[in-house]
Structures are given as C-alpha cells and as structure tokens.
C-alpha cells in the first residue's frame, strides 16, 4: 500500500541556515508528489509540486525515484518559513499525507 513518511516531527534551525525536510514514499506506480504548508492560523495550502520543478519562496524539492524521496530544501531559512509542512502523494483523485514536520526558524 502507498505510504508517505516524514521522519522528523520537529526541525529547528537558525535564521540563515540551510534546511531540509525529509519525505520518503512507498508506491509501486509512478508517483506524483506535493508539499503542502500550514502557517500559523492559516489554512493548509499547496507549496509546490514535483511535476512543475518550480521554486516557491526559495524552496525546491527533487523527486529521487531511486531513493523514493522528495525532500524539501531551502538554502537560507527565514523566520517566516516557520510552519507545518506536509508531504503528499497523489494517487488518482486522492492524496496520502505524511505525518508532517514542524519547522521552527529561530532568530
């Protein structure tokens, strides 16, 4: 069965430090992966999708099929990046979410 794992529940970094939020998936088919973010007191929203190969708010994520990973990276973290981040695997019309990682960026 498909599964998404985010091994870190909490990641704490200082402002300006690089950040990497890990996401691993298990799925036998061709995956479509996403990162969703929830800022404090805001609703969950799409951050980026692997198929677009885009950079949003300085974040990038590369799909590594060999390692079945889709880690989210940013070279220099900002305080406004503090939020909950969820990795999600799309199969058909449904999303399977990981457990989420809380990113805290300290000044």
């Amino acid at each position: 069965a498909q599964r998404v794992t985010q091994p870190e529940k909490l990641l704490s970094v200082f402002k300006g430090a690089p950040v990497e939020l890990k996401c691993n998936y298990s799925y036998s088919g061709s995956p479509e992966l996403f990162w969703y973010v929830q800022y404090s007191r805001q609703r969950l929203q799409l951050l980026l999708r692997h198929i677009s190969r885009e950079s949003i708010k300085g974040f990038t994520a590369d799909l590594n099929k060999g390692e079945t990973s889709f880690h989210l990276k940013k070279p220099f973290a900002q305080e406004e990046d503090s939020a909950m981040y969820y990795c999600a695997l799309k199969i058909g019309n449904m999303l399977t979410f990981g457990g989420g990682t809380r990113l805290m960026v300290k000044p």
Binding site: N93, F97, G99, G100
Partner: protein, 114 residues
C-alpha cells in the same frame, strides 16, 4: 470568492450524540474531500466526492456518512459520536485537470467528544 468554508469552527459532543459538519465551496469544483487530522499525525481521508450524487470511501470512513446533493456542499455526518472521533476535520475541494488537481482546504473544525 470565499473559497472553502466550514462550520462550526469548534464543537464539543457527548458520546452518542450526532452532528453534521458543514462544508461549502464557491469555486465550482467537482471534487470535494473530508480529512481528519489527529494530534501529531497527517491528514487521513474519510470520504470524497467527484461530483453531485457521487461519493466514495477514503481510508477511514467508519463512523461517518456523507452526501453530495449539490456541487457546492459536502456535509459530513457523525451519527454516534465516540471519543476516537476527537480530531480536527478539514474539508477540501479541487478541479480535475487543473494544476494537478490542487486541493484547496477549509479552515478546519475542531471536534471534541467527551
């Protein structure tokens, strides 16, 4: 556009009570979803709908019912509330084929069953 709206924001139920969580969207999205999020866990899909009159079970449908009589509304019904249903409930909607079926989420309903 209001996007996806949910009511109520908070609710406390007693065991065995029933209630309906309301969800509406004004984006003319065909697809709508209900998720629950338990503390420290990811979102789990309860039910989803690909259009008016069509619903299907997700990963954790037991104890819930849904209906989709209009494109805009997708209420979630709890018939006999149990403490295990204490959670935050999120409704979402999407339009197929647009932006990889990006889902738009409501603000959530925090439900406590005592």
């Amino acid at each position: 556009n209001a996007g996806v709206t949910q009511t109520p924001k908070f609710r406390i139920l007693k065991i065995g009570q029933s209630m309906t969580l309301q969800c509406a969207q004004d984006m003319n999205h065909n697809y709508m979803y209900w998720y629950r999020q338990d503390p420290g866990m990811g979102l789990k899909l309860i039910y989803y709908s690909v259009g008016a009159g069509i619903t299907d079970k997700g990963e954790v449908p037991n104890g819930y019912n849904v209906s989709r009589s209009t494109t805009e509304d997708f209420p979630l019904r709890l018939e006999l509330a149990a403490p295990s249903q204490t959670s935050v409930y999120f409704c979402a909607s999407s339009y197929p084929g647009v932006n990889n079926n990006e889902q738009f989420f409501g603000p959530g309903t925090r439900l406590t069953v005592l």
